[in-house]
Amino acid sequence: MHALRNIFSALIGLLAAVMSWPAVAEYGLNLTSGVTPISQEVHHLHMIIFYICVAIGVLVFGIMFYALLKHRKSRNHKAADFHENTTLEIFWTVIPLLILVGMAFPATRVLLDMADTKDSDLTIQVTGYQWKWKYDYLAEDISFFSNLSTPADEINNIAEKNPHYLREVDKPLVVPTGRKIRFLFTSDDVIHAWWVPDLGFKRDTIPGFINENWATIEKPGIYRGQCAELCGIHHGFMPIVVDARSPEDYDKWVQDTKASILAERELASKVWTKDELFAKGEEVYKRTCAACHQASGEGMPPMFPALKGSKVATGDINHHMDIVLHGINGTAMQGFAAQLNETEIAAVITYERNAWGNNVGDMVQPLDVKKRKDAPAP
């Protein structure tokens, strides 16, 4: 028994050493300790329960393997006949109960901390869409969509994959460090889940309901995550990138972003050439439309119809505009009036009417889109 006990304690020591070895964390064997006070508490809690489970496992399996080694027929061990022992049975009912109570205390404390979203410095609303995220900075009048930016060629094994494959977006969520950020979560279509391991939590985004959580990020940096709740075909392709900056840099970013939103609005009143629209439209299409209708315009019928040669993309341009602006009820086609600005909508419609051999030859100006958008929905 003595030798066995030594082996067990050596094993526990080894395990503890391995789990706390920094290289292991980098290689991705263990939960991250993250960059918020909460994520560190969660990590700490995780390690406590883990060690308790390992200790229970070592003890229970140790006794079991001892019996398997020593009490076997091939060693001529004679079977005993006992089949009850009330003291023992009470002992192994009560002891686990006490261990559980010991685990419940720290777990309850951390949980209550996590639920406390009071006194936040800023609020960001996160809205899940199939298959992208929308971020609204509630006090700042800043709002944008964040899409996967990994090129299709990398997914299709044509180009070499970059280090942030599937974990990169066109516009990351920029947040300040050192301020308490309250997140509100909701969804536009199905249930998604917003998860960045370094922030220490995940939350479901549920259509019609609002969930909340909070984070105070201690270290500037880029933190990556992705949708964690199956939300349809491209569930695996809606990453989250959080760009945490110092409060000064964040404030500067807020000013710059507001300025560029104004500049975008200016562009909408300019008259564009067809080539300009087509070029911009291709970029918008790849980012926003290609997930369903495919880069080739052939779609994935019957869920996602083809645009190549379709009645909509080659027919009445006003009807085409209405569908892009307002979507089609009861289908997966969303309305893009809130997701894209007028320039982008004009560009993508022009692109769809002239790409893949559609060659309708017409185009639509941002100002036309604005007019159509302001008119009552059909």
């Binding site: 009490h71 006949d81 349809g232």
Partner: protein, 537 residues
């Protein structure tokens, strides 16, 4: 394919002069009301479904072998994960346990047959049609259901988000539910009415006890599932808004109803396994089961707790903090009765006279690996940590540990343990041991690294992943292929045994130290057994 080869019907006639043997040809299987025939049908059906759903898993693992889109598109990938889960749960594990119940319960309690033999026939024959319909959705326009076996609304409840085949999925779930409920009623009626004189409830074998409790769970929760999917159907086509916020409904309501079914369902898939292990371990430890009564109490406690822990599947949905605390504490409590069972098995081994035949090896692997799954379950109960673990491969690792080396190993152990009784032939011990070691090594190669990639941040149900998960996914896939191949060997071993090719005839008691009424019958068990009830002292 018959478990009772015709060559033995001569022996039967010699033994019991008034006996009617099985009918000839295919009608034997279509019209049979014999519990042994129906047990055989269930077991073969579940084995076929196991291999089918397993081959879906092989495609999943091939796709995930390396990053990038390899073999299947993301839509088909989601169909694979959905159908793998549905078929494994409802087509492989549950029917296998019903098959074992059919074969064993009458023989264990000294009954001539199940109490409701015609209903027994019907409850089996619903299944091939239910699963035929479910599998046919692969060939429909838009493909098979692709929203996961849990079918969360609104992904499944709106025609905008899910394929038309969802309606066929709903109907086939209804059929499976009817089959399960009828099977459960049959088990309960048989146990309450057909026990041999002297077989009091507390004297019943633990396997029978575990099935009695499972049957009550089935009757309690299968109608709840039927209700949930019916609400999906009316939301899809009849204008209701149970789960649509825009119409005043609540998407999370679906999850509450589903998991009110789903958590007891988890125990439906593990309680009979506890029963099997409690039969096998004493036989090969040559010692009576330790703490028989506390085993029964533990089973009942687990069954009760299964009804008050469902929301631990939904911690991230934002249920109120007080409710979260209740479900966390209740979930942690399950560790106590489960611990009692594990400690009892180990005490049964303690100071025994242990041998390591194939069923025993699978049973021992069950105890160790199921406990690992139980411990990761305890970790998942801790809510703040669950906010990180939820919907990652850590969860996938957890439930595969309790289902594969848990439920499935117990079924395989049961097959090796009772196959000689059913067929009259011993299986090949060498091949059995090879099958065991291949399975035991492969199962850990598949599911252990899933803990790591889950903790490192890989969500479940994704067809492609970030580069840092590549190495472990490769190992997992290799383990998966090995595990799949090992089950083909199992198929070979079973057929080999049924045909009597291993050469050894089984004796009546089969094992040196097996206790129970089924071992008092000759091997193979006669087509009709205990037509005169035995007397239990």
């Amino acid at each position: 394919m018959s478990a009772i080869p015709d060559t033995h019907s001569h022996d039967l006639h010699a033994d019991e002069h008034h006996d009617h043997g099985p009918a000839k040809g295919i009608t034997r299987w279509i019209f049979t009301t014999n519990h042994k025939d129906i047990g055989t049908l269930y077991l073969w059906f579940s084995f076929i479904m196991f291999l089918f759903a397993g081959s879906l898993a092989m495609i999943i693992r091939a796709e995930l072998f390396q990053p990038g889109q390899q073999l299947v598109d993301p839509n088909f990938f989601n169909q694979l994960t959905t159908m793998h889960g549905l078929i494994m749960v409802f087509g492989a594990v549950m029917p296998a346990f019903v098959g074992l119940a059919n074969w064993l319960i009458p023989m264990m309690i000294g009954a001539p047959d199940m109490a409701l033999p015609r209903m027994n026939n019907w409850s089996f024959w619903i299944l091939p049609f239910a699963f035929g319909m479910l599998i046919s959705t692969f060939f429909m326009e838009g493909g098979a259901p692709n929203f996961g076996w849990t079918a969360y609304a609104p992904l499944s409840s709106s025609t905008a988000f899910s394929p038309n085949s969802t309606d066929f999925f709903i109907f086939s779930v209804h059929m499976m539910g009817i089959s399960s409920v009828m099977g459960a009623i049959n088990v309960i009626v048989t146990i309450f009415n057909l026990r041999a004189p002297g077989m009091t409830l507390l004297k019943m074998p633990i396997f029978v006890w575990s099935w009695l409790i499972t049957a009550f769970l089935l009757i309690a929760v299968m109608p709840v599932l039927a209700g949930a999917v019916t609400m999906l159907l009316t939301d899809r086509h009849f204008g209701t808004s149970f789960f649509h916020a825009a119409g005043g409904g609540d998407p999370v309501l679906y999850q509450h109803i589903f998991w009110f079914f789903g958590h007891p369902e988890v125990y439906i898939m593990i309680l009979p396994a506890f029963g099997i292990i409690s039969e096998i371990v004493p036989t090969f430890a040559r010692k009576p089961l330790f703490g028989r009564t506390s085993m029964i109490y533990a089973l009942s406690a687990i069954a009760f707790l299964s009804f008050i822990v469902w929301a631990h599947h939904m911690f991230t949905t934002g249920i109120p903090v007080t409710a979260t605390l209740f479900f966390m504490y209740a979930t942690m409590l399950i560790a106590v009765p489960t611990g009692v069972k594990v400690f009892n098995w180990i005490s049964t081994l303690w100071r025994g006279c242990i041998t390591f035949e194939t069923p025993m090896l699978f049973a021992l692997a069950f105890i160790v690996l199921f406990t690992i799954g139980g411990l990761s379950g305890l970790m998942l109960a801790i809510v703040p940590a669950d906010f990180q673990y939820h919907d990652t491969y850590f969860v996938v690792a957890h439930f595969h540990y309790v289902l594969v080396p848990g439920a499935i190993f117990s079924i395989i152990a049961a097959a090796y343990y009772w196959l000689p009784k059913w067929t009259g032939h011993m299986y090949s011990e060498t091949l059995g041991k090879i099958h065991f070691w291949l399975s035991a090594i492969a199962v850990n190669l598949v599911f252990f690294p899933m803990h790591f990639i889950g903790l490192a941040g890989m969500p479940r149900r994704i067809p492609d992943y970030a580069l840092q998960f590549a190495d472990f996914n490769k190992i997992i896939s290799i383990g998966g292929f090995l595990f799949g191949a090992a089950q083909i060997l199992f198929l070979y071993i079973v057929i080999h045994t049924i045909r009597g090719k291993s050469g050894k005839r089984a004796t009546g008691p089969v094992w040196e130290c097996a206790h129970g009424l089924e071992w008092t019958l000759p091997s193979p068990a006669p087509y009709h057994s205990f037509t005169t009830p035995p007397v239990v002292k």
